[in-house]
């Protein structure tokens, strides 16, 4: 099925009072690809993520994921359908340990309940052990295995970003949304991040849509890019075409002085 469209939004619009944050957005993300959503500050990128993941109900339009309409579903149902996300301003469960943060992502796939925990049923003990092992593997995959018992809020910035991704992976998504994963990283860290994103796409069989301001990252890993400006899609295509598109250059010139890539 590689190559078919896994996520399609048709003419999705989000208005907040008089402000049209996103207008007539039509994405078609192909399965197995890494796609990008870019645009100047306030262009409406995060709003798109919030609509796709059910945090905002679009004013108009429909969102179809893997053949199933998910428009207006609450976030937990969207997650269960297979869409996971990270947040632009990292949102970890700060008082919990690194391992517990990841385990919370597993609860959807759990079969035993807390009553089994009270009764010490063999099924619970088996599942709990397997779940911990699985989560430790996930932590190893993002390079945080040594920090499993640390409190999440005590992690360094880069580690917090990776933990947020591990936590998202724990929900077993087929579609992963990353909101500015390279924010606050130095060039070397951004370079590593690109390799990391490619690796998880491969290892976890993912389709990835990411928002990013770092053009080196966007042009380096995205196979297809959508560009928003004031909520309107001003361009769409392969990185090479986007880089040369006069409308895109203009939008970015107005904002921060051109595309640095």
């Amino acid at each position: 099925m590689a190559g078919d469209v896994i996520l399609a939004t048709s003419d999705v619009t989000m208005r907040f009072g008089g402000l049209a944050a996103v207008t007539d957005l039509s994405l078609a993300v192909r399965r197995g690809t890494i796609a990008g959503l870019i645009g100047p500050n306030g262009a409406g990128k995060t709003t798109c993520f919030n609509m796709i993941t059910g945090f905002y109900k679009p004013t108009m339009g429909t969102i179809v994921f893997d053949g199933q309409e998910v428009t207006g579903l609450p976030p937990h149902k969207v997650c269960k359908a297979g869409i996971a996300r990270t947040f632009q301003n990292i949102r970890l469960f700060g008082n919990e340990t690194v391992l517990e943060n990841v385990m919370i992502g597993r609860h959807l796939r759990q079969k035993t309940s807390w009553i089994d925990a009270v009764l010490f049923t063999p099924g619970y003990l088996r599942e709990d052990k397997a779940m911990r092992a699985h989560c430790l593997e996930l932590l190893a995959a993002v390079g945080l295995a040594d920090l499993a018992d640390e409190q999440a809020s005590s992690l360094a910035y880069g580690a917090q970003r990776r933990l947020e991704i591990a936590r998202a992976l724990a929900t077993e998504p087929s579609f992963l949304l990353l909101d500015e994963p390279a924010a606050g990283m130095n060039p070397q860290e951004s370079e590593d991040l690109m390799g990391f994103v490619r690796t998880i796409r491969q290892d976890f069989d993912l389709t990835i849509l990411l928002i990013e301001h770092d053009m080196k990252v966007v042009m380096g890993i995205c196979e297809h890019i959508w560009v928003l400006d004031y909520g309107v899609t001003i361009a769409e295509g392969a990185p090479e075409a986007i880089r040369r598109d006069p409308k895109v250059i203009l939008a970015y010139l107005g904002e921060e002085g051109g595309l640095h890539a």
């Binding site: 609450p74 997650c79 469960f93 008082n95 919990e96 919370i104 309940s113 925990a117 709990d128 998202a168």
Partner: protein, 345 residues
Amino acid sequence: MRRGQTVILNLVAVAALGGFLWLAEGNFDGYKIQILNLIAINIILALSLNLIYGFTGLFSLGHAGFMAIGAYICSILIMTPDQKDMLFLLEPAYDWVQNAQAPFLVAVLAGGLVAAAIGALVGFPLLRLGDDYLGIATLGFAEIIRVLANNFPRLTNGALGFKGIPDYANLWWNFGWCLVTLYVIVRLLKSNTGNVLKAIRDDEAAARAMGVNVFRYKLLSFTVGAFFAGVGGALLASLLTTIDPKMFLFTLTFNILMIVVAGGLGSLSGTVMAGIGITVLLEWLRVVENPVDIFGYELPGVPGMRMVVFSLALIMIILFRREGLMGMRELHWQSLFKVFSRGRA
């Protein structure tokens, strides 16, 4: 530390508690035993409130309401029909109230279950409210329960309440239920469900993104908390042998809230320690309400004075040690050993 060792140490601690209670039963006077009983019940109540407020982040002030439900249900079930015949003076009891009877264990369980059922029922609309509104709404709920108790004399004997409730709630029952409460809540919080509740407390939006049906889990926490509040109320009714609607005023919730805040929102061991400390202090502070004699001057006692002292203490905690005794930390065997070995070195 391995699990086996922890289990053994826990069993040793329970046995030690049993030994202590056995000694206390034989040697303590009635007043001291009463304080021990109150300690057990207050710990049950505070643990259940900490589950709701400290671990799930639901600011609920409805505990007195759930306690009242547990207390009335249990009392109705353990009083004999003859007793009830004499008691319901204003209006005769409903037939099922008049005839219902059950052994103490069943009566306490029933008190908890009815409180839980009503908790789920009121939780359904209320838990969709934001934080501050939830506090006000649950406070209102507890008040409604009290007004209902006043106005349904055929069920509750109205303002007169119940007297002569059989005093089954001895040290063994109270501490037995206290251990059950502690065990169930510890197991619940140690399971992944516990992680989910804490996730909702820490960041509700992120929890939703992780697939958590936030409302369902809030309802679970609220219902389990209501159950144990009902159990605590049931035990209290049998311990005090009299109940009436005035007993379930907001001050009752306030006492429990104080234990939870003093021990640390999100720390079970903190709740246990604060439960012991504050129950003892509350009794000890009765002194300030009695007339005192200083250098030949008679100072009159001020009724309600200990609540003033306690409110001040709560304000002090909030100002100077917001996280309470333990914050969100727990006392483990391991940490105990560390303290002791450090003391020796």
